[in-house]
Amino acid sequence: MADFFAGVDIGSTMTKVAIMDGGIVASVIGPTGPEHRKLANKVMGEALAKAGLSFDEITYVVATGYGRINVPFADKQITEISCHARGIGSLLPAARTVIDIGGQDSKGIKLKDGRVVDFVMNDKCAAGTGRYLEVIAEALGVALDEIGRRSLEAEREVAISSTCTVFAEQEVVSRLAEGIPVEDLLAGIHKAIATRVYGMVNRLKIEREVAITGGGAKNIGLVKALEAKLGFQVLVPPEPLLTGAIGAALLGRDIVEEAVQSGLSLTRSERRLREATFFS
């Protein structure tokens, strides 16, 4: 019988689950709501249904992401830094630097021999995160999943001087009133966010290859803007949103294998999905 491992990544905007054996057996991606505990239960149930597995058949569950402590059935919580690193180590082993652009924060991770040697995080300011793009998309009346493609249609790149999300929104609205095409503004916005992220991650001294993960990696305009800043092409995993969940599942497998090899017993959570509430 195969061993199955699950990774549950509760991010600030999206929740992701990956169930793995040798490869991905099933995955679920959905929005994060206010009640993480109920949500964790729900998405895990959906992933199990997709995989045709019962929860008892999952050998080990690792939770990650900023909501990781609210996964009551997880055997272990591991930070998203480690999980992204492990995920990229498996998906794109040539990567030495990971840039993760999430909904509310962005991170840079430096890898060496498959382990994290350094990291930086921006969690102070929406600039450089998915939230920045959401605000701008709304201000310009363009769907969020369209802004990247539209930015590539620009004839020229309008300089957006504000790095603050609030001021950038004001600047974009006033430039729009001047008659500047939406595409040109979007090109400027994507350059601004790429510049900010690059500045932060370069504190780690960026080394090739660079992999982009998180929701930001699904925005082709942002990926191109980052490539322009870096001066070379970046690597993007097939489903960048799942990187942390895949890494979590793989770290779960590592833990089990290490325990088996060393003859140690595993500390595991109660083996059932609980209908958890804030009172449990």
Binding site: T79, D105, R115, V116, V117, D118, F119, K124
Partner: protein
């Protein structure tokens, strides 16, 4: 009308040493003494941490009031916002030093009300007799703060004491010019004595000053010896406690109370080392607090590090002493008390210069980090960038990068917040960073096995 919600009740931070737990009452008593002195009409001098002239103030029977300390207390009590907002309302930028903003906001409010603001932390900050600046540490508020305070207290005289030390140059031997600096230093101190005699009416007791200078030398050495005991594995005391024990070091120097405090601390640490009693039972990672003032409202983060198996046996912040017997001169031969003070401090500020010059690419601050990393068997380095304090924080990232370049690639964590302004702080995000850093430390340990 909706009932006003009670503020969140916070638990007192747990300390590892008995000595550290005694500090809060000591500070409270120190501030109480200032309030009492005000009532009794004694002269009060507002001044700064490591002003270099503590003994002069005490020898002249003037009561010091430490303005940064009081701002830190407001921060630690999470009651600084109203004073910061008052300063901001007076057109002072929020990006200035938040110690200064807090102190200025407090002074502005007190002078406007004609009495202490309601329920001031630990009784409040009084209007002083004089205000004494101090040019050392290259901190601009240490000269500008009191000038700004004169907007609210125009009748309180200010003496800006310019105390400098030679800049570090890797191709230049500072010893060639240190004599000139000492001459200037002593002139400044002599001017301070004249200023204090004029504005307080108190005369300098030179014999008393010599006694206090000697007491301070002995206290410095005792602090150094006590802190060196923290090299032990497991370490008996961490930086969280050192952020308390810094109080007698930098606010009570030149008093018997400070000496007695560090004698107790030394004895306690020695016993803990003998008993192998550490800050935590299972010490996994030894860290250095490698720069930056702490967030006074978030000292509980040190306990959070402890809960993850990490301890801080050493820090560069507030370790404002060196053993005088380690100096490259015999300080005991300097009998003039003002010159003695000048040499003691100049040798402290330049203590790492010679070592730095021997390692290409190094700097005194980097050299100090390297020395502590080796002496205290350090696995990782943590720094704090406090946005409002340029003086202590500019250059930290450079130091870290240079350390990694010329020494070794040690795991590091940069925390970002402020010293007083709690609006810059997010506990969940800070702890997420700490968690990730612990992962990095663990990965580094595993690789080293």
């Amino acid at each position: 009308m909706a009932e006003e919600k009670k503020p969140e009740q916070r638990k007192k931070r747990r300390t590892a040493t008995e000595a550290a737990s005694k500090v809060a009452p000591m500070v409270k008593a120190m501030i109480g003494n200032v309030l009492q002195a005000k009532e009794e009409g004694k002269p009060i001098a507002s001044t700064f941490i490591c002003c270099c002239y503590d003994e002069i103030i005490h020898a002249m029977d003037i009561v010091p009031h430490w303005v940064e300390n009081y701002a830190g207390i407001c921060g630690a009590k999470r009651d600084a916002q109203r004073f910061l907002e008052k300063a901001e309302a007076g057109n002072l930028s929020r990006s200035l030093c938040t110690y200064a903003l807090c102190g200025l906001g407090f002074d502005a409010l007190r002078e406007e009300l004609g009495e202490m603001p309601p329920e001031p932390p630990w009784g409040g900050q009084v209007k002083p007799t004089v205000m004494l600046g101090s040019g050392q540490i290259l901190c601009d508020p240490r000269n500008k703060w009191f000038q700004a305070a004169q907007h609210y207290m125009p009748d309180v005289p200010v003496c800006n004491v310019g105390l400098t030390w030679p800049l570090y140059e890797d191709d230049y031997d500072y010893h060639e010019v240190e004599g000139y600096y000492i001459k200037y230093f002593v002139e400044q101190l002599r001017g301070l004595v004249e200023f204090l005699e004029k504005y307080t009416g108190h005369k300098m007791d030179w014999d008393r000053l010599s006694e206090l200078v000697d007491l301070t030398d002995r206290t410095w050495n005792l602090v150094w010896e006590a802190y060196e005991l923290r090299r032990a594995v497991p370490t008996p005391m961490g930086t969280g406690d050192a952020m308390n024990t810094m109080v007698p070091m930098v606010f009570m120097m030149g008093t018997q109370e400070a000496y007695d405090f560090f004698k107790d601390l030394y004895d306690e640490l020695k016993q803990k080392v003998a008993d192998k009693e550490g800050v935590i039972p299972d010490e996994k990672y030894r860290l250095i607090w490698g720069g930056g003032l702490p967030s006074w409202f978030a000292l509980g983060d040190f306990n959070y590090f402890n809960s993850k198996g990490a301890v801080f046996p050493v820090e560069t912040t507030y370790r404002m002493i060196e053993a005088t017997y380690n100096y490259d001169m015999d300080l005991s031969k300097i009998s003039d008390p003002l010159e003695h003070i000048a040499w003691r401090w100049l040798k402290y500020w330049t203590y790492w210069y010679d070592k730095a010059r021997k390692r290409p690419g190094s700097q005194p601050e980097v050299e100090r980090l390297i020395q502590y990393i080796e002496d205290y068997k350090i696995d990782g380095i943590v720094m704090h960038e406090a946005f409002s304090c340029r003086t202590w924080h500019v250059g930290l990232i450079w130091q870290l990068n240079q350390l990694k370049k010329i020494y070794k690639d040690i795991p590091s964590l940069i925390l970002e917040s402020d010293i007083v302004d709690i609006s810059s702080y997010n506990e969940a995000d800070t702890r997420a960073r700490i968690d990730a850093f612990i992962d990095v430390l663990e990965a580094a340990k595993r690789k080293g096995k």
